[in-house]
Subunit: 875 residues, 2 copies
């Protein structure tokens, strides 16, 4: 067995930098703070490796570790001059978990280990504070009962609440020593009743059981859920930190607090935090008492405040990043309990990264890697329209920026199931807890009645990049009747509300939103990203409006213009339907002739905006039946319009019905069956170009894309059609038009036959949505029925429709890339599935040496940043 | 330019054996007969290479070829002592096409070239037979008009028919010289009218135009269609045979005939053929006159008959195969015009192959390669039930064996379109012609009113392995009113009839059929095949009846037992539906418990029949909604039965509805979501084995197959479920059960991840139906809408659902095989898609080194033979 226990104290630490894998994040940071000689209570970390031994040893702590633990305790005893279990000056310790990456609220913590019926008296005597001693003891029983013995916490909480009601007090602080004595008795009775055993008086047993419990908590349901959501491997394990207790709740010269070295919401360089006088750590984060702003400490504890400021600077210099800190003041002495890289909003992340470059703490390439591209979304999506009417019904803390509307729901499960029905929800809770993680993931936004800016709800929402209003004291949640009251308003489950996490306002109904404005630090970061990326970023767009947005966001071309989207317009759908209902080629051509001017003018508008940038136009892709009317009324209307019988239409609908439309008569198969459709579309493209030429608009080079190709013959035939059409239009308008013809690679066979297909293609665009569907044999539309079972069974860690499945779909992309370029060195390669806006998929595209990614307009900045990160990570 | 013209005559030939690629089949055989010194009219062959030059030379005959042709004509003139275009003793020649493989009736022939208004008089004088000379001249005009000038043949035929009606005669032979003179005048007028030119009097022009026409006929529509159906490459081209004419129509010491060296219908070693006295070749094959049995020639032309018998033996000794021969007797001299390997029925093919081994003409490995496995079908499929009542309405010649029922249709197009609607048809024609090929392909059987055993209909039907009754004089076809009369019966389009090509009987309605009996030569051939094959042959079966048939046909195991087929039984479907409608796991288990005994007894029966052979059981595969009731009535019934509301059922149907069921919640995805279903199925398998053990039946080793796997995790989880169930059952019954667990490879991702998957699989079975669907992204059910367009555009040469697409799907199979075996050397590999019974796919499986193929029971012998051929061809 290698070294499994690592000491830290005022002498420094037993391990060097970057030891998170072994010590966990918390342990590594404690060790680091000790190295920096910051005031850290003495302690030691049992490494993550031990977690592995623990599980291999039948979930028992190996004897060697117990022996070493005892040795380390002696060292702590020497430093603190206290003794564990001593009847005159007892040492108390905390036991905390800590894994490689922060899992806030996920793992368990037990404080005050070492107290029993006898040592509690010693503590009382030693501190001359009976109330404090008893309060500490009841906390131990409560935490130990919950974490080690599995007794649900509310059994203890209810006792306190009832007692307070009887006594007519509100705050725990109003309870006296005698009150706690009574409650301790009751707590111990609960333990006896639930476990048939007494609360352990043996302090060694307390310690070893606590360590076991931390290891066991690694495999608790909520920890597993968190890991699944965040793609954290199960085998990492957790470390255990055992540390001498310091107390923020020994009197009014005591305090406990959390702080950030900068503002985690705005990124501003300012002290930001909250503290409570005479409280223990849990009181701050649990949101049970509303804490004070850290700045007020300058007055209440000026010495400590200055000391903290100095330490913050030291930590930022050391970590080159914003820190999230926990501290305790015990009888006017500051103790640092934790430091870690702080979670922040996207806005803050950008400001901090750009500021730190200015401050020369980091390089601009580091700044690029500091911002999670996925969070940019929150900055890019619309915010509340200032001018729109708002019925504000409550306000709270602006805990996580962004605006969201949705149906009110009071349970995480309900939020989840509504999400499956594609309904937007706002999750409303008194306060959130780790059990709510799934629901927070599912909801569009979170609103809580209690808790501060660092409450569970606020921290998790910021991490998820979701709007959150926390601590809105005005709202009274009534879970039983599924409603909340706020002033004169009653909001029921299912009613729509809007929350603005930037202002902390809660509004009735859905409030319109406006386009976000991008500038300053954001633009600077984007410019840096552009300097470092190799992948071009295009957009998927088919309307002038979207195209404009995408250009503003920095799109360098259109990677996918879905021409069929242009067909759904009210004026055009009639002609589209006429075309589909045609029985002869001639009738079809007549209907197509009506569509031509529309398509032409759409292309003209888009080409104008793109001003010379590449535009990939995909010819008609979906099966024709998608355009047919569905309701009786629509069928009647169209029959009248086209002067045919409804029966004609119905029989055509039956004729066109498909068992599996995804695998049916669509894509280039339509082009083969009805070449006149593709011919019209090409004519529209080329005539739009002729129009541009006439109006002296810079010509784009259209990339005409043939969808759903599986054989070289298909593209050969259709390329020929495009070329013939181009020739004809060029002749008519006496112009020379440059264009490319290529294909989507969205079927496994196309990937395998890329060599043949490349002969007739100037470019490939990977249609990863369909390629994922066919490679897995999973219909995205139908996958909802089993996807949950798949995630629960660890079959899918990531939804393959969100991030490219590198091992399956990715191999086909690599095969196609290799074989395509083997045939044609100049082949241009891109991706236009929704994966094109997903950072981890973009990282794959960089590795696979594609030329560009294409994504929806709002994902363009995400893709630009992700592409830069992909390039930097590859290097 | 290489040598392009090859001479053959009584001196021998200019080319050695196996020259079909260059001379075409007909030319090569003429050359070979000349080598054997058989009496072949002198001539020469213009090679297939010249066809290529012809097309490259703008569809004109290169000058060099014309010059060489003239030289060769002089040699023919010397031998025949006649001169081309001579006014006293004119040489006449025939021009015939001949490609590498026989394309019966596809290519064009022109006879009597060299006749004009002057030479016809010379011929009359020389032969002292004015009627013969004029008849020959009108035939030239007619054939030249049709083939070279593109005048539809019926214009000429109608003139003859009208003239005969006016004159009150029936047979052409009843027409005199004067009659033909008049018709020649009329024929020339038609030529003038249709082409605005006179019929060419220049004999050199006649010859070169005829040669051009043969080359051009290579790209005629019907030739292209035939090539497409038979997978003949377009670039092969045709050769042209120019040969001195001999005449079977110069009087009663003349004859023309066709013969087979053995009976092509039964395979019996006997002279088989037909001839006509005083007729030209076309008269026999066109079926316009009903010819005489060749055996009667022993009396009418005894010397010739004996000579023919000798030649037949020479030819069989040379070609080691049954020959199909054309001959002509001119003034009591025999001339051999053609020999080729004869088409035959499957029954004949087997008998001939086995007999020739006995005769030591060939080895048994040659015999195996002589029989087309696809044709075995005709022997295996049921024949008419002797005992059943038959309403015989007509009889004709037993032209191609087998029985078939279907709706009467009178046009090839209609037969084709009914086939698309999956309707069986019998194509009824006066006589068939190459234009009918598509319809003959589509129909289940062919019935003609005219034509002999060697008529177009008969030859083509035998080639296709389809039942055919030809020359049924009793039936009168009325195309206009879409009916035929036969004696007192009137049969309309759409009425069902049955034909028996073995007896020549035509019956009203559908006649029941019986299982064919396999024995004698067939069994011998199968035993030989088994000695030469490496691939095992299993069957796809899930009923005791089918399993029995498959065993009788030699199946060596079950490769696919689709357990869901067992669910559709009337008694069980209720429980299946109850299971699906269950809302809780408990309800589902209750319903499953009812299904268990059924499944168990099914497995028991099958295991009993298989008696120790391997049985692959696929766990539930289709989406659950397939089992739900579809009609209002069924929904009502089931609601009553299960005591729930119809709305409950309807909402469940909506809930289970899928956009793309093929890619939906099916296969192992059901096993992951509802493990209790798979658990029940495994329990049934293992309990059936326990039952076998108890009853001392030889235990099969079940191969439990998990369908639709795309990740290793799926099979890992489900293998675990199988193992747990096995353990439990083994414990209960205190027995040891051997079994394997494997998966279908039917999704591209499964093929790519075969390495991971093989870790948990003992075997892979390629589900090539679904693998083809996902690799191409084509739903088989929906492909009908564009498959025709794809065949017409040469995108698909073969339907990928019939023969494995080697370049796409095949690569995935190879990848999976390689990667799977890399992980697990012992991995057993098979194929269970419908491709398992397709000879060309079986050839691929042999190349891909699979262990077995599995196919439907009736395809088992086909697969056994095809597997042997695949092995022999590979070597």
């Amino acid at each position: 067995m290698k070294k499994l226990i690592f000491r830290f104290n005022n002498q420094g630490s037993q391990i060097r930098l970057n030891s998170k894998d072994i010590l966990g994040g918390k342990g590594a940071n404690l060790a680091e703070m000790a190295r920096l000689k910051l005031p850290v209570p003495p302690g030691f970390t049992i490494s993550t490796k031990a977690c592995d031994y623990f599980y291999k040893n039948n979930k028992k702590i190996p004897k060697k570790i117990i022996q070493q633990t005892k040795k380390e305790l002696i060292i702590i005893e020497k430093i603190t001059k206290k003794k564990f279990g001593d009847l005159s000056n007892p040492l108390l310790v905390s036991v905390r978990s800590g894994s490689r990456v922060s899992m806030p609220g996920m793992m368990d913590t037990i404080l005050n280990i070492g107290l029993n019926d006898e040592t509690v008296i010693a503590l009382k005597n030693k501190t001359s504070n009976g109330r404090f001693a008893k309060d500490s003891y009841r906390r131990l029983i409560q935490m130990y009962g919950s974490v080690v013995l599995g007794i649900e916490s509310h059994f203890f909480e209810e006792l306190i609440e009832n007692y307070k009601l009887t006594k007519g007090v509100i705050q725990d602080t109003e309870l006296e020593e005698d009150d706690w004595d009574g409650l301790i008795k009751n707590f111990k009775e609960i333990v006896k009743e639930k476990t048939k055993k007494n609360f352990p008086q043996d302090v060694d047993e307390q310690l070893s059981q606590a360590i076991s419990a931390v290891f066991l908590s690694w495999n608790s349901k909520r920890a597993k859920t968190y890991r699944k959501i965040n793609s954290i491997p199960d085998h990492w394990g957790t470390a255990v930190n055992v540390q001498a207790m310091v107390f923020g709740n020994m009197g009014n010269d005591c305090a406990t607090g959390v702080a950030f070295t900068r503002n985690p919401s705005t990124g501003k360089k300012e002290l930001f935090g909250e503290y409570l006088i005479n409280a223990q750590g849990e009181d701050v984060v649990a949101g049970t008492r509303t804490p004070k702003n850290l700045l007020s400490m300058e007055k209440s504890m000026p010495k400590i405040f200055q000391q903290l400021k100095k330490i913050f600077k030291q930590l930022e210099n050391r970590y080159k990043d914003m820190q999230d800190i926990e501290f305790t003041v015990e009888n006017n002495k500051l103790w640092m309990l934790q430091t870690r890289s702080g979670k922040r909003t996207a806005r803050a992340a950008i400001k901090i990264a750009v500021d730190m470059v200015k401050e020369k703490l980091i390089l601009n390439r580091d700044a690029i890697l500091r911002v999670d591209p996925n969070t940019l979304d929150t900055l890019l999506h619309p915010t509340l329209d200032e001018k729109s009417e708002k019925k504000i019904i409550a306000s709270g803390l602006p805990a996580s920026p962004g605006a969201a509307s949705g149906k009110v729901t009071f349970s995480a499960d309900e939020a989840e199931s509504l999400k499956e029905q594609k309904q937007d929800t706002i999750l409303v809770r008194v306060e959130t807890s780790p059990e709510d993680i799934n629901g927070m993931h599912a909801a569009k936004g979170i609103l809580t009645a209690r808790g501060g800016m660092t409450s569970h709800a606020a921290v998790v929402a910021r991490g998820m990049g979701k709007p959150c209003v926390s601590g809105s004291n005005e709202i009274k949640v009534d879970y039983e009747n599924k409603l909340f009251k706020s002033n004169e308003y009653i909001v029921k489950e299912g009613d729509v509300i809007t929350i603005d996490g930037g202002s902390g306002k809660v509004m009735l109904g859905e409030v319109p939103t406006v386009k976000p404005e991008i500038s300053g630090d954001f633009s600077k970061l984007m410019i840096w990203a552009d300097q470092f990326r190799k992948l071009k970023v295009r957009t998927n767009s088919e309307t002038p409006a979207d195209t404009k947005i995408a250009r503003d966001f920095g799109a360098e071309g259109i990677g996918l213009c879905r021409t069929e989207h242009m067909f759904f317009n009210e004026k055009r759908i009639i002609s589209v339907r006429q075309m589909i209902l045609s029985k002869t080629t001639e009738d079809r051509q007549e209907a197509l002739a009506k569509l031509l001017p529309y398509q032409k003018s759409d292309f003209f508008e888009i080409f104008k905006i793109m001003n010379g940038l590449p535009v990939t136009v995909r010819l008609l892709d979906p099966p024709l039946h998608e355009f047919l009317p569905k309701t009786e009324k629509d069928i009647g209307d169209i029959a009248k319009e086209l002067n045919i019988t409804t029966n004609d239409i119905k029989s055509r609908i039956i004729e066109l019905h498909e068992q599996n439309p995804m695998l049916g008569h669509r894509g280039c198969r339509l082009g083969i069956s009805f070449p006149e459709i593709y011919q019209m579309q090409c004519q529209a493209i080329f005539e739009a170009l002729a129009e541009c030429k006439k109006k002296k608009i810079k010509l784009v080079i259209p990339e005409i894309m043939i969808p759903l190709v599986s054989t070289a013959s298909e593209i050969k035939i259709l390329r020929n059609l495009v070329e013939k059409t181009a020739k004809a239009i060029q002749k008519i308008h006496s112009i020379k038009i440059k264009y490319y013809v290529g294909t989507m690679i969205e079927l496994p066979r196309a990937a395998l036959r890329a060599n043949d297909i490349a002969k007739y293609a100037d470019f490939f665009s990977f249609g990863t949505n369909d390629l994922t569907q066919t490679t897995f044999g999973i219909s995205r539309d139908d996958s909802g029925k089993f996807l949950n079972d798949y995630v629960e069974n660890n079959i899918f860690y990531e939804d393959p429709f969100v991030s490219i499945d590198e091992r399956g779909v990715g191999e086909l992309i690599k095969i196609a890339t290799e074989r395509g370029r083997m045939r044609k060195k100049s082949l241009k390669l891109g991706i236009c599935g929704e994966h094109g806006g997903d950072p981890s998929s973009i990282e794959f595209c960089e590795k696979a040496k594609l030329n560009y990614v294409s994504c929806s307009p709002y994902r363009v900045p995400v893709a630009r940043l992700a592409a830069a990160q992909a390039y930097l990570k590859k290097k």
